[in-house]
């Protein structure tokens, strides 16, 4: 096990998560541990997941199950900004298909692709529980952007490019 896989700070954060659960239920911290690792590494390589499995004393395949189930975890390297557009029904009814088309045209990439400058990756997302703001998209899993019409998109991209 390579203990240099993650920084001391990251490990400390994971330890804090582990402390929230009973000692024999370490694996309950798997989602936060993966998120912390991803924040540091940008994406989750096989070795990273292996490391987390060892760290939480759980089977590697169980970590993999979690990492593949939630699409906020990146299992491949991605651009600096990951734009995840909700394409579920309420958003679709409010025009998310146009949002997607516009983004695709503007960035010159399709879903699951990254722009050549390495800045943007486009992803398809599931309902984000914000249907009232449809159509919505999410930047790097953390920042929710509402009512994404074409000029809203222009604004967002301008801002991120800076």
């Amino acid at each position: 096990m390579n203990s240099l896989m993650l920084s001391i700070e990251a490990l400390k954060k994971i330890d804090r998560e582990i402390a929230k659960y009973p000692t024999d239920k370490k694996q309950s911290a798997v989602m936060s541990a993966l998120a912390i690792a991803q924040d540091e590494k940008g994406w989750l390589a096989t070795e990273t997941m292996d490391f987390i499995a060892d760290y939480l004393e759980m089977p590697a395949i169980a970590v993999y199950e979690v990492a593949t189930f939630y699409n906020m975890y990146n299992l491949k390297p991605i651009g600096k900004y990951k734009l995840t557009v909700c394409t579920n029904l309420p958003c679709a009814l409010s025009g998310s298909n146009q949002t997607v088309d516009y983004l695709k045209k503007k960035l010159g990439i399709g879903f699951n692709e990254t722009t050549v400058d390495g800045l943007f990756t486009l992803k398809e997302g599931e309902c984000m529980g914000a249907c009232g703001d449809a159509p919505v998209l999410l930047v790097n899993n953390k920042r929710m952007c509402s009512f994404m019409t074409e000029d809203q998109i222009d604004k967002l991209l301008e801002e991120l490019k800076k």
Partner: protein, 801 residues
């Protein structure tokens, strides 16, 4: 009890039961895929939807707990519509490849689709396809067929104790797979083939070789480990095509180990003997049975005339049937020799003169599940007793405490309460610590004969923990595994656990090594006539040579213990405690008769080779480790000129003009040994007359060998099972040592080293295992590349090349 009504039938079930349990109780079938009685409830296939009165929508029977007065209908309009709807969804992505699917004919999806599916699909879009996975040499995949019931995943987590398969992705993208690039290596892996309700996971060795409806199904008993798993052997054109479990809750439940399941390939091995052979003036020639048997009788008579009957020795493998073993000992005793034994890997026979009966498990197998505290001494448990290990795993889940005293620290895939990992020479000390601790805690004096042995001993923390565990959690039990039975301190270890048992009330016993270890012992394949005397006349035993003596232990290098040997299903150069010595003495003998199914190296040392039937080609009986008598019929006719060994021994008895060798059937022999009514053999008894511990202060050598028997080298059949030989567990032998030992010797992990034992040496790669005690080398036995070395335990030298 809770009363509910299912399809108009009243049924009372225990609180906490599900609708599925209740339906089973009244014999109502509810269609299902993910539900399995031995696995946790997943409720993800939805096939079991039923209508429950007052519930707003159909409920899954497998996950719905019963409540008083519940009214369930499994065939109402609502239930059937729901079931048909689920079936339609399941079939959306399922390929229509039944004609080339191995599961065809025994597929739950196929069967239920007949009942609940419609004749055509409304689904017009493209079906999804999933790439196949490489799960190793035993399981073949067709993942597009998977219906995501997760039975295979739950099996790993819950039964095998190691989660090797998982379900990645979600929704339509879900896939069953292993973690990146891993194979499935569990010794119980084959069970997922039975569990998979569709043809996603099928048997690789059996694949495409027959359709299930062409096979005839015949009952049998596994000839491998001491459990005696119940089998269904499936046969086509007089050839064993595959082996499946036959459910027996008291023995193997519904499982089989991979060894039981896949070793049938060895039965069809090219190494099978098909015709008798004799060596005449140094040349081998094939011949008819008459000539071969006359030659054999002649040879035996010559040796008796020259050196007396005492110069003949017989060794029978405990993988042979009860009837064969019985006749072998009868033959020997009528010839006037007590030189007969089956304990070829045992090295300490001191208990022979004080044993009161046949050593056995000490409790019934089913009772293992109820134990609350278990101490196992000297065992590669998962590999030697895969399904017993599984039972113990379930007991631990129910709250039992498991402790081990072992020279190896292998993961048992279950929680350990206490663990002591010490060199083989220190194991007795570790057990005596537990003895001393229980005596202290219970304030009961240790019996006189062995009190002196524990005087100087200091009790470690974990020994005290084990002692407390055995005392506080009853029922408890202490078992000696195979390593302990082969151990040079076997009799002492046995005495020690008997003493522990006397103080704590724990049950004690041995984990039977082979399918018929108990049987062999109970019919007298030991150097005294178990059957002739009452159990307590131990001092007056007229004893012959034991297996150790016959195979050269304690006999000087120049001598041979016997002038003639009769070997039954044995390959002494692999199956002995000291394989080097065994080869020497057998080679030196004047006349060697080998009854075996396989050629192997027999032509190198034998004078007559008699091809005898493996368990599938003869009727017979195995007695498992709990003493359970299980008889079986032959499932195919003997290959070539092969004959059942009991017939061969019968004729041999007659040719030697011995009395009482007129049998027409194996049942007749059986009737002479046990009565029809007996379910368990009568002379089971682990107790020793006098406890005796001698070797407690023995110093180990500088570096000790830990010699285990690899799971797929344990008997002649499995050694020839080609698919099992491709698994991880059958990888070419390696030596293992702790990093401390390697550092001391200046050796890097992975380096090839010279290993020297009793003046023989081999070169092979060494690897690090920091779960080993320092100053030990773990080096398997029973492997052709290694059998040149000597004893399973004791001094060994490691040198840098």
């Amino acid at each position: 009890m809770i009363n509910i009504e299912i399809d108009g039938k009243q049924v009372a079930v225990a609180q906490g039961s599900t609708v599925m349990d209740a339906a089973k109780q009244v014999g109502i079938y509810i269609p299902h895929f993910c539900y399995h009685k031995k696995l946790s409830i997943a409720a993800n296939c939805r096939m079991c939807l039923v209508e429950v009165e007052k519930a707003p929508k159909p409920l899954p029977a497998c996950a719905t707990p019963v409540s008083e007065g519940m009214k369930v209908s499994t065939h109402s309009q609502q239930a059937v519509t729901a079931q048909k709807g689920v079936m339609e969804f399941l079939l959306i992505n399922h390929p229509l490849d039944c004609p080339i699917c191995d599961q065809g004919g025994e597929c739950q999806l196929q069967d239920l689709a007949v009942g609940y599916g419609s004749s055509g699909s409304r689904y017009q879009e493209a079906k999804r396809a999933v790439t196949n996975k490489n799960l190793g040499p035993l399981i073949s995949t067709d993942m597009t067929r998977c219906i995501h019931c997760t039975r295979c995943v739950r099996f790993g987590q819950e039964i095998a104790g190691i989660m090797e398969l998982g379900m990645a992705g979600r929704g339509e993208h879900s896939e069953i797979l292993t973690f990146v690039g891993k194979t499935v290596d569990s010794e119980l892996s084959g069970n997922v083939i039975d569990l998979c309700p569709v043809g996603a996971l099928v048997s690789k060795p059996f694949r495409y070789s027959a359709r299930t409806w062409e096979l005839s199904r015949r009952k049998s008993i596994s000839p491998h480990c001491g459990l005696g798993s119940n089998l269904v052997v499936q046969v086509k054109n007089n050839r064993v095509m595959r082996v499946l479990p036959r459910e027996n809750e008291a023995v193997n439940e519904c499982w089989l180990s991979d060894k039981d399941r896949f070793s049938y390939e060895g039965l069809n091995s090219g190494d099978r003997l098909t015709i008798p052979m004799i060596r005449k003036s140094g040349e081998w020639q094939t011949c008819g049975w008459q000539e071969a048997l006359a030659f054999t009788a002649e040879g035996i008579k010559n040796v008796i005339n020259k050196y007396g009957a005492q110069s003949i020795g017989a060794l029978g493998s405990a993988h042979s049937t009860l009837e064969e073993l019985y006749l072998l000992q009868k033959l020997m005793r009528r010839l006037g020799s007590h030189n007969i034994d089956h304990r070829v890997r045992q090295s300490n026979f001191r208990a022979d003169v004080i044993s009161q009966g046949v050593p056995w498990l000490g409790i019934q197998i089913a009772e293992v599940s109820q134990l609350k505290s278990i101490l196992i001494i000297g065992s590669t448990l998962r590999k030697d007793h895969p399904l017993l290990a599984q039972r113990i795993r379930q007991a631990v889940k129910q709250g039992a405490q498991l402790s081990v005293i072992n020279p190896i620290g292998d993961d048992l895939f279950t929680k350990l309460a206490y663990q002591t990992i010490v060199a083989p020479s220190a194991m007795l000390n570790a057990v005596l610590q537990v003895l001393k601790a229980v005596a202290e805690i219970k304030n009961i004096p240790i019996s006189e004969q062995i009190a002196s042995a524990v005087k100087q001993i200091n009790i470690s923390e974990s020994a005290r923990g084990m002692a407390n565990s055995l005392i506080e959690h009853s029922p408890s039990a202490v078992f000696l595994g195979n390593i302990a039975q082969h151990h040079p301190h076997y009799a002492d270890l046995f005495s020690a656990i008997q003493a522990i048992s006397e103080i704590t009330g724990a049950k004690f016993g041995v984990l039977g090594e082979a399918a018929n270890s108990v049987g062999a012992y109970s019919v007298g394949v030991v150097p005294w006539d178990v059957r002739a005397e009452s159990a307590n006349k131990t001092e007056s035993r007229k004893s012959g040579l034991n297996a150790g003596q016959m195979l050269g232990l304690g006999v000087s290098e120049e001598e041979s213990a016997c002038s003639a040997y009769i070997l039954l299903n044995l390959e002494p150069e692999l199956d002995s405690y000291d394989t080097r010595r065994a080869s020497q003495v057998i080679n030196r003998a004047e006349f060697v008769v080998s009854l075996n199914s396989y050629k192997g190296n027999i032509p190198d040392y034998a004078d007559v080779i008699l091809p005898v039937s493996p368990f599938t080609e003869t009727s017979g009986t195995f007695v498992n480790t709990e003493g359970r008598i299980q008889s079986f019929q032959g499932v195919v006719s003997p290959l070539g000129e092969t004959r059942p060994a009991w017939k061969v021994l019968r004729v041999l008895g007659n040719l030697l003009q011995l009395e009482g060798f007129d049998y027409d059937s194996s049942e007749q022999i059986r009737a002479e040994i046990i009565s029809d009514k007996e379910e368990f053999v009568q002379n089971l008894n682990n107790s020793l007359d006098v406890l005796s511990i001698k070797d407690f202060d023995q110093k180990g050598s500088e570096v000790e060998r830990i010699g285990e028997i690899p799971i797929y080298q344990a008997d002649p059949i499995v050694r020839r099972a080609i698919s099992l030989q491709k698994t991880h567990d059958a990888a070419p032998p390696m030596a293992f040592a702790s990093s401390a030992l390697l550092n001391k010797a200046g050796i890097l992990a992975g380096e090839t080293v010279r290993i020297n034992q009793q003046n023989e040496e081999i070169q092979l790669a060494i690897s690090v295992d920091d779960n080993l005690p320092d100053d030990c080398i773990r080096l398997a036995c029973a492997h052709p590349q290694i059998s040149r070395l000597g004893t399973m335990f004791g001094e060994i030298k490691l040198e840098k090349l």
